[in-house]
Symmetry: T
Subunit: 154 residues, 12 copies
């Protein structure tokens, strides 16, 4: 079992600029953390970052050839990309949406996500820890340790 | 360190009615799971459920006397209760919002949360597992294993 | 077969204040009328009134243990309570919504009902008679004298 | 005393097409049921159906010459006809609005009724039984068995 | 030169019902007044009333065969008929829109007119006198006593 | 009997600039036309123009000391001045609103008038002729030749 | 196999008025073109035009007695007729919606179609050619040369 | 004469995933069908697919160097790309917009197209056949067999 | 004469948490101040606080048995409770609404009050002093020292 | 210490017209009342009225030269004047907004105030008494008898 | 060639109050800067400031008698004055709109400008330098050194 | 000091197509003009154009390595790209937004800019001259000749 982690636009800047806003942890450190989690579960992991909506759509379109699930932080494209939503819906891989910040504390347009209705679930506001939780959730749900039937309505 | 878990309206019905929608797991089973997680981290835990907005507000108002953080699934009150939002904002305890279902796949009014802007973060769509993730996030952030400064902007 | 009648907030004042607006008939009189109808059909009946949203949610949550259907006038909670809606949807008992006044002749916010989409049907504008019609409808539909399949689309 | 029943557009198709949606009962059967109810109350009844907004406006405009009240299912014109609303408001005959289906479970535009604010009350969601209830309500209110003063505000 | 006067739905009831709302003057009396005005200007006049949107569209479509201009009170169709708007735009006859009442003192939906953007001008709120003013305006503008070029921007 | 005519902002430019938009007739010529109409009816007339909202409010506030009615083209203040609306409502003099152009053919914000709900009626789209019609309407209604009771509902 | 073509309001004026807007081709010529196409496919064809919403609803209601599919240009009723939408949905005949002009280049209210969600597909902007394309599409889909299963999601 | 066909994001997945939604026909098969149509008309054809908004904008910007017209299915970019709209408007090549599915049966945000107001016409809901119709329309209009002047207003 | 003071949700926390936001004065101190004011006017006073919407509705419903007027700070329920609004409207006791903070400087949803249209007046932004002003206003108006007829329109 | 009282447009008419709406008390009487209050507190007072937005902006701009605080009833300009808001924000004098009537019982547009977010607090609905309360509030807060820090959040 | 510079409401306070918000430069200093720029280009300049919308409308109305272009900072009237917009549109002098601050970083209502659609261009966010840029732009465009034809579409 | 100039989508077409809309000046000529301005100020300059949102985000993300400020015409991405906004906000380089045309004279969706709230200022409507003004503003502000503190509030 292998999982694809997709970091959206501007996340290459993590930890390098404005540590008060983006935190001090670089993207590589987050990816290393995720690899450790994946290894602990015996799951493969590939991490990619792109500022290009089209490239992210390409990756998702080809993902079923190799991956069993997707962890995605669509960043700015969360709010503007129907193409990423359609790609996720088309490949039908289990996916989890992550946001570093609590989007509900920011500009109103960030409260709307085109991606949320086509993923399994969403985790926002926990910084880098959120990625770990997302990966754990994805793996546990994929491994059947969690019965999808037990997902509730509230 | 002790954590308060609050289950909002109708969650007493979990697992007893409509297992296809609400899952087969009863609220007691979820609470047992959470106790196991808390124990693993050496943290105390109290789980409560109420259908009364005012009672939830009472609980939050008194929570700083005893608790270090709150995990809350406000259920239907997510979308209608300014009082719960104000209570959380007033006591200023770290809090995490959980939803069993992916609220973005349901009626449009469920996409708006009065509570989200006053909590640390939100987890939705993972069924009972979401509670576990919320509790882990709260404990790890409280224990300082995660530096709040490292929470980012996306 | 037993039916639960729920009167929402402020309906305890019926007939005692402002007879020009609320009519001269007290809530007890309405309940008496409903008992007469129920008896005529050989059906049990219990009438309750509460100003507490949470208490109404409690009642609905426990209703399947004893009742076959619900007649509810959610009054002010019609327009603000997702919790009552979710309770009705969760227990899946046949339910009928009643309003004494014609809500469409009043403030615009009264035209929206959170409850309407989860009940069998709605009756509004006929004063106390509306309760009788609601009870008759519920009983006849429950008794299978009316084929649910024959409910149409317009 | 005579009552006019008006069936709006497409109701001529009742029972003949899509019984799963429209029910299996034909319009004639509904009219027969209504005649039985009217006879039981000693009231005359005339049932008409039209797909023409203008014809319905004509009928309402002339109705006071002969009828004491109107039962109307405006169907699609519920949502688009100011002309029918104005006709009902102009003739000032007591009127009751019926809908076979629960309009609140369908497309959002069906939740708005131009007619509702000018009728006595509305009954929706009970299939053909709704017509019976509407006729009973109209007759009882007209016969003064129900004191209009007793109609309340909720 | 001949002018067509079109009275929209429910105007056949003028003067016969609710004189406090609709005034005491019958439609025939208004038509007689208009004939007097037309004669004074040496202009022919034909007055028609219909409750049928389609019939009004028919009349407008054929109007260029005989008429030089149109005075129209679209009544309820003002707010709902794109078909009448399109008919007036298609035949390109000079037209004037009249309303007996001041539509801006009534329900908000009456403030919007589909017809207004395709007529020369609108007169509302003056009761039957409004028709006379509309006819005078149409005739004077048609007779070139008023230079269309002199119509201003405010 | 004396009538006050108020021309709103920028109308001092009439006929001097952009004759294709504003027409070729100057404001003085329009005032002269109106004087002729007033004389024919034996009515006094005073015409004023101001670009100052406050000055127009002053004039309206003092108008009952001398005038029996008001013809007003509020021009740009139509869409933005609650103060002029309140002044007209306070003095309760009969008033008529005029617009040279058909406001419904222009920018959407011009379709809303703060003034319309507090005047007797509105005339728009007929250029300078509109002023004449407005004055005639005001005088005739004031002189009782038209019975206000006969103003209808459409 | 026979197809019904319905031309909505004002289309009787095609080619006779405003050739720059409506084109120079009369409705008869369009109908002749369509007959040629139908003959080439060995399909019967009947073309009707009406300005009456109710008449169009009548036609659609009776269409299954004789026709296998419908080509409809609802013209102005596109934007205002729930009755035509409901008729098409009730009879469940395959239908295609045509518009001569590109409705997206015109007033904003023309961008909304009540009819579009209940037809197979929509063709707009190609003038009379659009009717031919609509007829070809309908026939090919009906003849099974196109597998409905092959209709995609974008 | 040569025509450019542009397939937007995720259309490379056609026929390979979710045949119940996207149909069983692959993009290559559709392109082959289009080549056959083009050949029958003696017209050259080039088909391209991209998930990159910028690449599609590049293609459109250079298209006048070689192509006489464009058939475009902007897929997800239909609803979000002002850049593609501006490119089409800038090069002023005749263009036709195609959608495989009936966008009006899907999420509300799919009812809005940034592209529609700058193309000749739109065809949606006919699956792969829609591409053929679009190509035929484009070629016939380009070849002058259809007089653009004959495009009408409805 | 006795007055009921109702403090809404979370106000039990006043002065105990976040003095920079809520001020340093505890609820008891405010109540003491109000008692002093009441005594100075020779008026009885009872102060209550509740986080339960239903309890507040209960209190208001029973208030006419003992009180002549109500001072209420509905806090969070200001924005969400139709039930409190209906209770105040039903008992028809003179009431005054108070807010400690200036609600117009906070989140937009706080600018809307369900309660404001059914009270005599509103006072917001003056901290604890606002309660005193509200009580003085209520007493003076009740004592007839202020003529209700002298309340103006601006 | 001196306080400036500003009465906005149409308030010069107070007590002279429509006593049922505006009350019987003239503006001079209100000013006299305010002088008495000010004297009791040993504070100077100047009362001004203007119908001119610009003049009010002038006054506020120069107010810091002489005054310590402002009581303002912006009347109609409440809802339309960004200039008065900006003036109050620029001079940063403590200010209190008063309205004679309860603006929430009137037209919806009166519920919005441009001024409220830049003043200390707002008092509405108490007629002339409201001015007294506003002046008392301003003086007490200015005199430091009330600690601004004690202004709360609800 | 002479240019008129108009400073809108509250700009007389520049540099005197709140230097952190409004900057330290007084209006006179800005005017002096602008005179220097104008002299360098051999252009006359007159600078005026007013808090009165009507006075600004007066100035614009008379400006063509003497000026070739206008630089205007409408300040608060940007968002509320249709009269200033209409004046600028009527005189048709080239005009440039300036804002000291970046209006898009402030309250949402400041993002809308009534003036922008009738001026040549807008400059906002550069403080006093913005006035210089605006004057340079106006002079260069007026002097024909910039070809208006070269103004592009993006 | 070096400045980066970014031209957004479709600007490569400048001067080559539709000179009446886009002007006759090619992008190279604009860049040459800007180089001349930069040289006059002794500042380095690099000009780039891209149709790819992701590429623009890449450039901005790397810009602090070499550039001191950015001049950007985001063209179509102005209205749709949160990613470009986030990139500008992340790197925190001073930036100026330019638009060739006056966006407020075009389609309503062009009035909204995602970019404007994160740049120093915006210049629109002056054609190629606008770029020069933007560059001058950026350089002068960067060189400290303009004190950022002097940027005002209007």
């Amino acid at each position: 079992m292998e999982v694809l982690v997709i970091h959206g636009p501007n996340l290459q800047l993590l930890g390098m600029r404005e540590p008060d806003v983006y935190g001090r942890e670089k993207l590589d450190a987050i990816n290393a953390r995720l690899k450790a989690v994946a290894e602990a579960y015996g799951v493969g992991l590939e991490c990619r970052q792109s500022n290009h909506e089209g490239e992210i759509v390409d990756w998702i379109g080809r993902s079923p050839e190799r991956f069993s699930g997707i962890v995605i932080n669509p960043a700015a494209y969360t709010h503007t990309s129907v193409a990423i939503r359609d790609a996720l819906a088309a490949v039908r891989l289990p996916a989890v949406e992550v946001h570093l910040s609590n989007v509900h504390k920011r500009e109103p347009f960030r409260a709307h996500s085109y991606v949320a209705p086509v993923v399994w679930g969403t985790i926002s506001g926990f910084g880098p820890l959120g990625y770990e939780l997302a990966l754990i959730a994805l793996i546990r749900l994929l491994k059947g340790k969690e019965n999808a039937k037990d997902e509730g309505a509230n």
